[in-house]
Symmetry: C2
Subunit: 352 residues, 2 copies
């Protein structure tokens, strides 16, 4: 896959977003979010998403200039309205509102309603970790999973994430959907004309299936059965019910519903590490925990035990040095948008 420099990609994304009406500062935030996902090897949440965001802005389904407004404030809790703006831009601004509040009060929380797909939760969590804070982040998403016992898409793949600063050069990054697998894995299996493992999905009639095409017409299963259902519901309650956004099946589909807004809801809870213990002591404790985990006995055939976030940090280091891989399909989309929006296309494959 061709690789490009981080700066080139950020400029390109930022220029395109700005050309379609996103204020320059907000366009830079969006570019940072998307390119950061590609940098960390999470291309499903990276530049490949720009096309649909631009399409939705052009169709009037996302307001590129929306303000983030405070609907309610009680102590260090904020109820925010994204004004149907870009998810990444509004959620990052929400986080910037929370940081001083968590600094002063030890903990601060926000819900954000009337938002969109907002990319990788790790971007927000890692930003908080760089401020010596721990962010717990959740979001609801377009319907894909059924409650235990059902087979109607109710919940999104409702992810949960948190990052913890460390002294190891990368934050510990917990970031997981509450589904068995991301829907993208089923799409990939269908493209390869391969079956999917049992336990991933149900078909349209609610029966388990290993046929990828049938699975795509049905629902994705929650991880660990009823436990994933319970966690998906928890995410829906924090992100959807408490925020005032759409709930469950009412959340709009980014790709399928090209006639209405998504109305996604997010939830952030931010903790200032130093409210709990001295930062130096914290770092010692977290680093020792990492060392203990990594030096624990390995199963037969396992070469190394990784902590969550370690693998993506290594990918980011590699990509920063060698360029960030972007698929030809995604790049073709960007070229098309450059022509359409009259943005100069100045991206060359990285020579590193």
């Amino acid at each position: 896959m061709p690789r490009y420099s981080k700066d080139q990609l950020q400029s390109l994304v930022s220029d395109l977003a700005h050309a379609i009406g996103v204020p320059a500062e907000d366009a830079a935030l969006l570019a940072d979010a998307l390119v950061d996902a590609d940098l960390h090897g999470k291309s499903t949440h990276g530049v490949s998403r720009l096309d649909i965001y631009l399409r939705r802005i052009e169709a009037g389904l996302i307001d590129p200039q929306a303000a983030l407004t405070v609907s309610r404030q009680t102590g260090s809790v904020l109820t925010l309205d994204a004004g149907n703006g870009l998810g990444q831009v509004q959620a990052r601004k929400a986080l910037d509102l929370l940081i001083p509040r968590a600094g002063e009060n030890g903990v601060a929380a926000a819900t954000i309603c009337n938002s969109q797909h907002f990319g990788a939760l790790s971007w927000y969590c890692n930003y908080a970790a760089s401020k010596r804070m721990v962010l717990l982040a959740m979001t609801n998403c377009e319907p894909a999973m059924s409650p235990e016992g059902g087979y109607e898409a109710f919940f999104g793949t409702n992810p949960i994430a948190a990052s913890f600063p460390t002294g190891k050069g990368f934050p510990i990054k917990i970031d997981l959907s509450t589904s068995t697998v991301a829907r993208g894995n089923i799409i990939a299996a269908e493209k390869r004309k391969e079956p999917i493992p049992p336990g991933w999905a149900l078909n349209r009639s609610g029966e388990p299936t290993t046929d990828a095409s049938e699975a795509l017409l049905g629902t994705v299963l929650t991880m660990a059965g009823h436990k994933g259902y319970a966690l998906a519901l928890m995410v829906e309650l924090f992100s959807g019910v408490l925020s005032g956004s759409a709930i469950g099946p009412e959340v709009g589909s980014m790709y399928k519903n090209l006639d209405r807004k998504q109305d996604v809801g997010h939830f952030f809870c931010l903790f200032n590490v130093e409210a709990f213990l001295d930062y130096a002591e914290y770092l010692q404790r977290v680093d020792e925990t990492i060392d203990r985990i990594k030096s624990s006995r390995k199963r037969p055939g396992v070469e190394e035990i990784l902590v969550p976030g370690e693998r993506s940090a290594r990918i980011a280091t590699l990509n920063a040095a060698e360029g960030i891989p972007v698929s030809k399909e995604t790049f073709a989309e960007l070229e098309k948008w450059c022509a359409h929006l009259k943005v100069p296309f100045n991206c060359n494959e990285a020579v590193c």
Copy 2:
């Protein structure tokens, strides 16, 4: 199984705890916590645990009169030290410290170090729900699970819980360990001389096993593989690392280590619903969500879709009417303690 009235069981537990040195008010809290678990059908966290608590108090491994002290306070974050007291008593007192803080500030959080096994997380979460608040609760526990790729018991079954008030007569109750199954299920299979399903546990050499006895010498697997590992680590970071308690394998085993304290760590984050939206609007939104879930299409053979907390609420209603079942083994232990501590044994099977 014989059934007993809630009042009789609470008096008995409370009298025994008081007789061994727990102050009357604290003994009543402990009794409420344990009997509440049995009432809700969770006997693994109920009166059956009193024996080991009393044994540990008698051995000087739990301080029955410990004070809960505030080590640090920043805004509405408290770092608490349980003084090696009873987990249920100290954690409930911690929650009572958080409630006014969350009321004023919208959100409040606490870590508690130097604690013990503190029973079912639902007891704390449901109490918060009765105050129109949402509690997110976590705890580390004695080592049972390995990190992904390892086979050394590092994490406890590190549970996560949250309850949400509803207008349906019961709170939504999310309460799950991050292991595939509770260790108790493997113990039960061994007693029945039955194999366990694949995916539950590893043997002493780190190989998957379906032999219950071998599994008990090995480690329990995390739920959903690396996702359960990530969540177990998150719980360890919030409850263990941030609290100043023992971390991972350093946490003492309640039954095996009869020579040292457990030093368990807990984490609470409490949210005042009314900081986010009006309570009446919240209730309408949560109840509609429940109705939508319950009326969604059912898989073949499924009679009813339940929301988390609904089943245990039904069990509690039944047990409140017909008496709470307590196993003969547990009751024999209580009788023995009554004789030992010279506490009158006034419990009769319920005639309801």
